[in-house]
């Protein structure tokens, strides 16, 4: 099973990639954990920059489903999203 992870712009800029695939993750918690591990010694930056970001699965915030326990399906997109305003 493969999911796509999209980081916030600041996270991607600091960590070197905005978008990547993860194999074999079944929940949001696993996806976040595996994404964090991916950046090795930059894990602290991952935590710091992701602190104010919510996690969405295919556009729906995990907090509106089962939180970290939300199950993932093959092809899902897990996005880190910040509050923002546009016009």
């Amino acid at each position: 099973m493969s999911v796509t992870v999209e980081l916030t712009y600041d996270m991607g800029k600091e960590l070197g990639e905005h978008r990547f695939e993860l194999e074999g993750v079944e929940t949001v918690a696993e996806a976040v954990s595996r994404a964090r591990e991916r950046f090795g010694d930059k894990a602290e930056a991952f935590d710091q920059l992701g602190r104010l970001a919510a996690v969405a699965v295919n556009g729906v915030l995990a907090s509106h489903r089962r939180g970290a326990k939300t199950r993932l399906a093959d092809g899902d997109t897990v996005s880190f999203v910040k509050a923002a305003a546009g016009g």
């Binding site: 970001a53 915030l61 999203v81 509050a83 305003a85």
Partner: protein
């Protein structure tokens, strides 16, 4: 005269080339503030039902409010009101730049333009001498908005149209500096009057009730803005494009003519990307605004020009599946120079691409390809070839070529860049807003899906309440005339700094989401001014304004707009969303689209309207809406 107002309305008749100054009506100012509210009242009272929006009988009303001419941040906007040639209903748009300041310096609150000139003219208004000159504009006719303003010089403040307005492109706008009153075709109305430009100036100063309090408080607000995560940080750093990655992550970024809400290349058209790769040194703002949401970019062959805003990045970017910021910036430049609304333009181009994809229209435009787009934009602005059809907008295109089920408009006005299938309150706002499918008549999405209060945007809770409160507030804001972005500062910094997964944040969200009627009740309370715009109005005019006062005034304006629409045949039947939005799911847990049929009756009832979307007599009476 009430403080904050110049006290004068300038009436200009282009057919007779005559002008006259009249007193501002104080009672109308008390009931409708100014700007959009005052303009709507005038339009309702002084035009007959069923007029041709592009005929000389339509009025083109430029209106300021009591905050204009002050140094309050975000306060240099003017409203334009007329009958819309795009929707056939109420037409209005607001614009930053500097023209509002020019009007107040000239001692003019409202400029009413009637009739039509026999050949291209421009107006030059010297407020200090009570002088209005009707000048030959044939030399300027055909020239772009950048060139025209350059030619007019810097001694006066200008509002101009480009070729799109001259050619009556139904979504042409009116430009001041680098900003545009973009929506509903106000530029086409100006073009129909053969009015190329209005230039205005003078040396009058704003008379305030309590200038000392105003000055001291404005200083505080500037600090508050500077420290605010949206107004002082993300918008200042990245402009309105800061929201691209958020709407993409929330699956509400229009992609492929709203077929999807997610674009894999979104990051390359985001505000952050522009900051890192394209920004050319200058961040720009309207006069006296510290937010500086504008930014310059380089366009090949044109030099440094204003960069695209969020709506443009989405409608000319993801909506066409173009992830190339340089192309979007180039198209934005052409649209600005031609003087047309990039929201309607992008939506119409997306619609044409889908027609082509389905074999319904022979046009050299395809999703994901920049080929032919520049040429088509120029053809639209000049109404050449097939561009002549696209210049009429999505609704009319769908009537001619078919495809109504994927024509993305409400009441004829193309949808903005927040897909309502992931933002239910925004969908109700689009459906019910009197000028059509627009986001800045309430910006409900900020309260449910893009701002820091991450309530569930896909259940029914508050989804009829948020649009009412926000539409009312926006009507009041657009009548002061203040920038709608000021409302983004209403959610305090402390909320922005909460971790979304923290207990405190989750509790706050739950309380808000379940507040039911309490939300509208609290927003309707009349008391002392709390927000900065309430205090500014109070200090300037000497009349006490609070959230409740603004809700009441806003509701009055909104209901008057509704009555105008009904008079013009734009009924509650048009309070709907495009079939694609209602029927096609973009989220895997959805069986269908936006649940508007479940929400609309509740919205109508809370507005005090009947089941057909008509305001009840007692509602109008309570709000003092005179017909």
């Amino acid at each position: 005269m009430i403080k904050g107002y110049a006290g004068r309305v300038l009436e200009v008749d282009l057919s007779r080339q005559e002008f006259a100054f009249a007193d501002l009506d104080e009672e109308t100012a008390r009931l409708y503030i100014g700007g959009k509210g005052y303009g709507t009242r005038l339009l309702y009272d002084r035009t007959a039902a069923g007029i041709d929006p592009l005929g000389p009988e339509n009025l083109l009303i430029f209106a300021t409010g009591p905050l204009n001419g002050s140094v309050a941040p975000q306060s240099n906007r003017f409203a334009v009101v007329c009958k819309s040639p795009l929707t056939g209903g109420i037409g209005n748009a607001t614009c930053g730049g500097s023209f509002a300041l020019g009007m107040k310096k000239a001692g003019i609150d409202v400029l009413v333009v009637s009739g039509a000139a026999p050949q291209p003219v421009r107006l030059e208004i010297q407020g200090d001498r009570d002088e209005v000159r009707f000048l030959d504009a044939r030399e300027l006719w055909g020239r772009g908005t950048y060139d025209t303003q350059k030619e007019l010089g810097k001694k006066l403040y200008h509002a101009v149209i480009g070729p799109a307005g001259e050619n009556r492109v139904l979504y042409a706008g009116i430009v001041s500096n680098e900003r545009i009153a973009g929506r509903t075709g106000v530029g086409a109305v100006m073009g129909s009057k053969q009015l190329k430009a209005v230039s205005v100036g003078g040396s009058r100063k704003l008379d305030m009730e309590d200038p000392e309090k105003f000055k001291a408080y404005t200083k505080e607000v500037r600090k508050l803005f500077a420290d605010h995560p949206v107004l002082g940080e993300s918008m200042k750093r990245f402009g309105t494009g800061a929201i691209v990655n958020t709407t993409n992550g929330r699956n509400i970024l229009p992609t492929r003519n709203f077929q999807r809400g997610h674009f894999d290349e979104a990051v390359k058209i985001s505000g952050e990307w522009v900051e890192d790769h394209e920004l050319k040194g200058v961040k720009t703002s309207c006069i006296h605004c510290p937010v500086t949401c504008g930014r310059d970019v380089e366009v090949e062959g044109k030099g440094r020009v204003k960069g695209p805003e969020y709506e443009t990045l989405a409608l000319l970017g993801s909506n066409l599946e173009i992830g190339d910021i340089k192309r979007v910036a180039e198209w934005n430049y052409h649209a600005d120079d031609l003087g047309m609304d990039t929201i309607s333009l992008g939506a119409t181009l997306g619609f044409a691409m889908e027609l082509h994809e389905r074999g319904m229209l022979d046009v050299p435009l395809s999703f994901g390809s920049a080929a032919g787009v520049t040429e088509m934009i120029l053809d639209i602005g000049h109404r050449r070839g097939l561009g002549d059809d696209l210049a009429d907008g999505t609704m009319r295109m769908s009537e001619k070529y078919g495809g109504k089920e994927f024509a993305m408009h409400v009441k004829g006005l193309e949808l903005s860049a927040y897909d309502p299938r992931g933002s239910f309150a925004q969908g109700v706002e689009y459906a019910t807003t009197n000028r059509g499918g627009c986001h800045v008549q309430g910006a409900s999405m900020y309260m449910e899906s893009t701002g820091p209060l991450t309530i569930n945007p896909q259940n029914l809770k508050l989804k009829a309440d948020i649009p009412i409160v926000q539409q009312n507030l926006a009507c009041a804001i657009n009548s002061m005339v203040l920038c709608i972005f000021t409302t983004y500062g209403m959610i305090p910094k402390a909320v922005h700094e909460m971790r979304p997964d923290s207990f405190a944040h989750r509790a706050l969200v739950k309380i808000f989401e379940n507040s039911g009627p309490i939300f509208r009740t609290v927003m309707g309370l009349k008391g002392n001014p709390m927000m900065w715009f309430e205090k500014w109005l109070t200090y300037i005019t000497g009349t006490k304004f609070s959230a409740g006062h603004l809700q009441e005034i806003g509701a009055r304006i909104f209901n008057l707009e509704r009555m105008y629409n009904l008079r013009e045949g734009v009924t509650g039947a048009s309070d709907t969303l495009p079939p694609r939005i209602l029927n096609e799911p973009t989220f895997d847990h959805m069986d269908s689209g936006h649940p508007l049929p479940e929400l609309l009756p509740s919205y109508y009832a809370k507005r005090g309207w009947d089941a057909r979307g008509v305001p009840a007599p007692r509602t109008l009476e309570k709000l003092q809406v005179r017909l």
